[in-house]
Symmetry: C2
Subunit: 330 residues, 2 copies
């Protein structure tokens, strides 16, 4: 930068002001500095800038899965907004429980970012305490985390939409394939989707048959297994509600292999509106995943701008009727 200043015939102070777009710099001077910088193809050193300035211009994004459609898509939306605002995205993947413990213990992002976005992972109390240590803004996306500003769908409502649709079609024996995070067994990632099922059945005056509920780790193959279990019942359901489209697609494979027709012999509904759902003609509850990322990004930006930034945003979901659901055969 000294070179630039010299070439422009100004002091470093002025050069700095001109380059970082500060006021109180004569436009002519600014032009001269910018020209000099251009000629020397000079770019500011972020390290030094941050050291002196205080902010880092970076945001940490913490995701439990990268390769899954939901997370990757949300990340895409988020990155889009943040990059647009000139912020850099530091990606942290916390896969299994070990990773996770390690992440919250070591806090590798500490002092490296101005804010943290946790994507689709419930945060435990002790983890929240660790996170607080970073002393930066925190936003949750794709899954509510109490006490943090969040952007998410209402899982309970989404689940209700799915089950209510099956009930509306006059299904009376409805199975559920509940998906849990493989990395966190026993810890329902989306309790709302389970609650929705029991609540909807209860409201419809239907008995709660535990045989109709199968809980499996998330994933297509798990869904296939779960469907096998349901088909092995003495009195199988006429419709199945899966916690996610991937699981539902797995279930469909089993049904197809069993020679059952969809939807004539069995209705299937999922949640997400995964791109594959369209290809597989799967009825589902759509959620705006990309938007959730974008909104979380905006929420974060307003927080960084010092605006109050309310509690959270719940984005709507809606039923997408395709060919995998129909009234049961009488």
């Amino acid at each position: 930068m000294a070179d630039v200043a010299r070439r422009a015939g100004v002091s470093m102070a002025t050069a700095s002001r001109a380059l970082s777009n500060h006021p109180h710099v004569a436009s002519q001077t600014r032009a001269r500095v910018l020209a000099a910088a251009e000629q020397l193809s000079y770019v500011i050193s972020p390290e030094a800038s941050r050291l002196a300035g205080g902010v880092t211009g970076r945001v940490a994004v913490v995701v439990p899965h990268i390769a899954r459609w939901f997370f990757a898509t949300l990340l895409e939306g988020l990155e889009w907004v943040l990059r647009d605002a000139g912020l850099d995205v530091l990606l942290y993947h916390v896969g299994d429980a070990t990773d996770r413990r390690d992440f919250f213990q070591r806090l590798p992002a500490r002092r490296k970012v101005d804010a943290v976005v946790v994507v689709g992972m419930p945060i435990r109390d002790e983890e929240r305490d660790r996170l607080e240590l970073m002393g930066v803004h925190i936003v949750a996306a794709g899954g509510q985390v109490e006490n943090y500003p969040y952007v998410a769908i209402d899982d309970l409502s989404a689940g209700r939409q799915a089950v209510d649709h099956l009930l509306f079609l006059r299904h009376r024996r409805i199975g559920m394939i509940a998906a849990v995070d493989p990395a966190e067994p026993g810890w329902p990632a989306t309790p709302g989707r389970t609650l929705a099922y029991t609540a909807a059945l209860a409201e419809a005056g239907l008995p709660a048959d535990p045989d109709l509920v199968v809980t499996v780790p998330w994933g297509g193959l798990s869904g296939a297994d779960a469907m096998s279990r349901l088909l092995s019942l003495r009195d199988p359901p006429t419709a199945v509600y899966a916690h996610s489209d991937e699981v539902a697609l797995g279930a469909i494979r089993t049904l197809r292999r069993a020679g059952l027709r969809i939807p004539e012999d069995m209705s299937v509904i999922g949640i997400d509106d995964h791109p594959m759902a369209e290809l597989a003609d799967l009825t589902t509850i759509a959620q705006p995943v990309h938007d959730q990322g974008r909104l979380a990004g905006r929420l974060l930006l307003s927080l960084l701008a010092g605006e109050p930034g309310g509690g959270g945003v719940t984005v709507p979901t809606h039923l997408v009727v395709r060919g995998s659901t129909a009234p049961p055969r009488v």
Copy 2:
């Protein structure tokens, strides 16, 4: 850090050495410093550290798509290795052509990283020139880029495996659905996969019928459209080779809607071994995507360690036979 040094009763120089694991520090002293740091819950300021030290401890990863399975999975493997090595991952998504131009023009990662990994995107000459300006190591993953160390599959060979399998099954009229990047129309992302088709047919002494080749932007729905086009031919193929599994899955949807049976009426083969391929019982050429990310990470690490690091790594692909291919009906 001054606080830590004071508390440990040493100079800042020693504190720095102890904290950054340098040699020539008495183990007792080191322990004292670490304890002091622990008590003050002190973490080093990366900015200051980088400023003084020179390296940034960060790697830029440039991807043209985040949400697609291939890219996200590769990224997952890559992140895993880099994080393990204590490097932070700075994610840059360059989506459409505008993004792309902007990225190479502005080089937002400049001076922020020690290395760059470009994932699955061919780099043009002028783009390479810009990249060189960053003056850091560059590695390509999931798609060869001449002049850079790379990790990738051999598209030509993968394509040959696919088409040869269909030929082996005695198909003589084989269609191809070629996928191009929607963001870069007219620029074949994987020319090798196309070359493989023409070469294999030529070797088998089969005529090259341009009607049998349909080129569409990447994606499931495009694949569905492409299949429709093939089905509308006066003399449709008996087997279809798709450049990727997603496209193949789209093709399958069309076949199913048309009431055709797979593989009896039409064989379909893809490339990738996407998780959905297993669910859809799709024969495919599997490539180790996660591994490509990991290997690229290792390659980068060895480069950063100053090792020579040869030209590139080609990872093998292999045929996975499932239920979507069979000999043609006679």
